[in-house]
């Protein structure tokens, strides 16, 4: 499995970059075109829901998964200095429709981490 890729997000362009990295990884793992689109769109939709690259800074961590004989893509968005943990809650619900798993963690120091996973079926 490939090493995790970390994309610092300071601007919207960085979100595009993250989306591209996710799509490339999904293709490499063997996702079909539609599933590549789903997980890539989930990434940018998640970043947008979190206002990442807009009012907040942070990073996107893209990782290939292998567990219980199946492969998948994991994308974690970490947001620094969040002052409103309700941000994008509606959009997060929309993102969940595109992937298999979505978890939200409130971390110390006002950090928020949202992780999505899409499995290869």
């Amino acid at each position: 499995m490939s090493e995790a890729q970390k994309i610092e997000v300071n601007t919207e362009f960085d979100v595009f970059m993250a989306r591209m990295q996710v799509r490339n990884l999904a293709r490499a793992i063997g996702f079909d075109i539609t599933s590549q689109a789903r997980v890539a769109l989930a990434t940018s939709s998640l970043a947008r829901a979190l206002r990442l690259g807009d009012i907040y800074r942070g990073y996107v961590l893209v990782n290939g998964l292998q567990a219980e004989g199946r492969s998948g893509v994991q994308v974690s968005c970490k947001v620094f200095s969040v002052d409103d943990f309700e941000i994008g809650s509606r959009a997060l619900a929309d993102v969940k429709w595109l992937v298999d798993e979505l978890t939200v963690e409130e971390l110390p120091s006002n950090e928020l981490q949202v992780t999505l996973v899409k499995w290869l079926v």
Binding site: F13, M20, I33, S44, D94, V95, L98
Partner: protein
Amino acid sequence: MKEDSKTVLIVEDSPAQALALEQLLEDHGLKVLWAADGQAGVALAREHMPDVIVLDIEMPRMGGFEACRILKEDARTADIPVVMFTIRDDAMTALRGIDLGAVDFIPKDAFSNTVLLETLRQLHILPEATGAPDALPQKPRNKAGNAGLPGRATTGPEQGG
């Protein structure tokens, strides 16, 4: 252009964006048709049976979602892959396109051409790449987007509509 070139139908209301796509695809040896709205796009698809349709969403007269629905309900065109190629990239919009039968949903950004070419390879519209990527991602120089005059498109909005 080879006689056996695959045909791509671009349904896009922006002549500048259609021209840029046309240039990109022709540079890769594909035949290109253009319709400027969904209604004309459906008519051209039925007439020419392209190998793939690249469909914008927001267009006059008939948008991409409605065009996609009609194409997928018509037995003649149902099997033609539809790629949504759009400025919108929110989850719900993407899901709607995919639910209507689009095979891919590509937001227009700095990487969209690269993604589109890769999708066309995976659909076997283009041969597999053997060398460097076609268009390395790079930061856009300005917000203006594509340049060009709207005169070279193969088929304009009034045809086939």
